[in-house]
């Protein structure tokens, strides 16, 4: 199946700005699914609110465009009621970790077989450039005109601590890694998180004087490095890319099957 067979042409043109990193994520995601050979009708994509969340509408799966921050809660209901379906939940950084932070950590904790993709552009784009929990200390935003004093989450560390059994990170500068990690995340039995650092030249780039899309991609190339690289040893400030967690633990829907067995057995 060709990549375009996954797209809903009726839905285009998309609403992302020129230079936005989210299209690269869409591309990598579709290629991952194509390579895995999963039937379109076996995939449910659930998203929340924000620029990133519009990704669901563009794709020819069962798509559920929900409310801000709650995508994982909706997805949990879909998965529990039909465990054979593949659940993919793309979220923005504000969607996943500000308003949706509680649902995020609890989905990690349950280890339910859902793939969460955090498209982290460190800003609220759709509302016009306010700081998010991922903007970081010192960032500029329309609601941080005198420099941001909020400290950032580390998506990888947060996911690990909350109990996700697959955690990876890459950037929109590294599209092959996007496909590779999303593939592994979908194949993983349990809750998987893929953080993809993405660029928002319209707001984050402009507000923080990083430049346009090209400069922001250069920035992601320069500021990241593979896990345990020599570069990291020399410069601890570099952000690591790669697979941080990949472990097998009982998956939630399978555990619930045991609950049913116990209830029916009267034990």
């Amino acid at each position: 199946m060709a990549v375009k067979d996954f797209l809903r042409e009726r839905f285009f043109p998309h609403l992302w700005c020129p230079g936005c990193g989210h299209g690269t994520v869409l591309n990598g995601l579709v290629r991952a699914i194509e390579e895995l050979g999963i039937r379109k009708s076996d995939i449910v994509m659930v998203s929340g609110i924000g620029c990133s969340s519009r990704i669901s509408g563009y794709l020819d799966f069962h798509t559920l465009h929900t409310i801000h921050g709650r995508a994982l809660a909706f997805a949990t209901g879909v998965k529990m009621s039909r465990p054979k379906l593949n659940l993919i939940v793309p979220m923005g950084d504000g969607d996943a970790l500000a308003i949706g932070g509680n649902h995020f950590i609890h989905a990690c904790r349950r280890n339910i077989d859902i793939t969460a993709i955090v498209m982290n552009n460190r800003i609220y784009g759709m509302t016009g450039g306010q700081y998010s929990p991922l903007s970081g200390y010192g960032a500029a935003a329309t609601t941080a005109p005198y420099s941001n004093i909020d400290h950032t989450f580390d998506v990888v560390e947060l996911s690990k601590a909350a109990g996700a059994t697959f955690v990876a990170r890459t950037t929109s500068y590294h599209p092959k890694e996007i496909t590779k990690y999303i593939k592994k995340a979908i194949q993983h039995k349990g809750f998987s998180v893929v953080e993809i650092m993405s660029q928002c030249p319209t707001y984050f780039g402009r507000k923080n004087k990083i430049g346009g899309a090209v400069e922001m991609l250069e920035y992601m190339k320069d500021q990241t490095t593979p896990i345990d690289s020599k570069a990291k040893a020399e410069n601890p400030d570099l952000i690591e890319r790669g697979i941080f967690v990949e472990k097998e633990l009982p998956e939630y829907c399978e555990e619930y099957e045991k609950v049913i067995e116990r209830a029916k057995g009267g034990a």
């Binding site: 009726r10 465009h65 509680n102």
Partner: protein, 382 residues
């Protein structure tokens, strides 16, 4: 055949009704005074292969059942005041995306944490207008456990018929009181099952195109039709749209499908109304005390009657207007500051003859309270 008789709490009667209706997916979060609903679901559902989920909050609970409804399941959540407040955004989503689901609110005293273990009926208007934007809503209630069972079954039937969330607005007294419940035989109460599309694979399916009778056949997530569901205004494919014609059409459809069928959804119980000069209008636990007053006064020859509302929303205004036409006085008995009173005043021809008998202190309004109000209304002093 022997009758299946149980001695249960109202919350359990609600669970029994839901299971009878075919519920097989429940998600909830513990909150007084509704917790027994979740507890019973956690016991019963795994036995029939159904799903019970305790989510991280009430928001997630309603979101999870909406997701499960889309895969073709009959779903429910249960909560009380503060949890119902948290659910309002997702409730609006279920209205907009037309997702069949049932939301139980066992009312306690509010606002805020309020009076958790005591009775109130203060969420009537919240059920109507809690979520933002113009919309229609269905809310049902009951005053005894047999009726709790029956309206719960009806809630599922209405949810499926109109593709809508339905609110069950019980109260602490009904939820926690124990009384007799006879479980009907299978088939005794008709059930409405999910209306699924007959459109074949490969043929364009329109998830949001109503049939001539107004109903919208669904397609389960996971089956052959892949479509978009959104809380945005959307076209017949479920694609977001801000086209004024589409926005207006959908807004009207969401109102009309409920309001135009208000007479079908209206459920009331009538006691001694034929010749009643004084009419009490009540619902839920308050209606038990109201009925007690009516029966005892009838025994003394007074022409009192009771109109018990089981459908609160859409408000059964036509029935209220008709039954109250010849009454000298109409007294609304409720445990709030007059939320149904206002509806009754709007509905009747003589609003100046409509009075309120209420209690808002967390104590069940009792027959003596009602009799005292009636003395004042009748000009017989306190």
């Amino acid at each position: 055949m022997t009758e299946n008789i149980k001695f249960v709490q109202g919350n359990e009667a609600c669970v029994e009704g839901a299971l009878y209706a075919g519920l097989d997916f429940f998600a909830g979060y513990p909150i007084t005074p509704s917790t027994e609903v979740a507890e019973q679901m956690s016991v019963q559902l795994p036995k029939i292969g159904g799903s019970f989920l305790q989510m991280e909050d009430e928001i997630a609970s309603l979101c999870a059942i909406i997701g499960a409804s889309l895969t073709g399941h009959k779903v429910m959540t249960a909560t009380s005041g503060p949890g119902f407040s948290l659910m309002q955004e997702a409730l609006g989503y279920a209205v907009m995306a037309e997702i069949p689901c049932v939301i139980v609110n066992v009312q306690r005293g509010g606002p805020s944490t309020g009076n958790p273990t005591h009775v109130a009926q203060g969420d009537v208007n919240q059920a109507r207008w809690g979520t933002h934007g113009d919309h229609a809503i269905v809310a049902l209630t009951a005053s005894n456990h047999q009726d709790v069972f029956a309206v719960t079954v009806e809630a599922f039937n209405i949810a499926e018929t109109y593709r809508t969330p339905v609110i069950l607005l019980f109260d602490e007294v009904i939820g926690h009181m124990r009384e007799r419940l006879v479980i009907p035989e299978p088939g005794e109460i008709p059930l409405v099952e999910r209306l699924r599309t007959s459109v074949k694979e490969g043929v364009d399916y329109h998830p949001y195109l109503p049939r001539e009778d107004g109903r919208l056949p669904m397609s389960d997530f996971g089956s052959v039709h892949r479509y978009n569901v959104t809380g945005l205004y959307h076209d017949m494919w479920g694609f977001p749209s801000d086209n004024p014609k589409i926005v207006h059409g959908l807004s009207r459809h969401l109102m009309d499908k409920i309001e135009n069928n208000a007479h079908q959804i209206a459920m009331v119980k009538e006691y001694y109304l034929e010749d009643a000069e004084q009419i009490l209008i009540s619902y839920g636990a308050s209606a038990r005390s109201a009925l007690h007053v009516v029966v005892s006064r009838r025994n003394r020859g007074e022409q009192l009657g009771l109109l018990e509302l089981q459908t609160l929303w859409p408000f059964p205004a036509e029935i209220v207007r008709d039954r109250c036409r010849n009454a000298r006085s109409v007294t609304v008995v409720e445990m709030n500051k007059g939320q149904i009173l206002e509806q009754v005043k709007h509905a009747v021809e003589a609003p100046e003859r409509v009075f309120l008998a209420n209690r808002v202190d967390g104590v069940l309004i009792n027959p003596t309270d009602i009799r005292n109000f009636l003395r004042v209304i009748q000009g017989r002093g306190i």
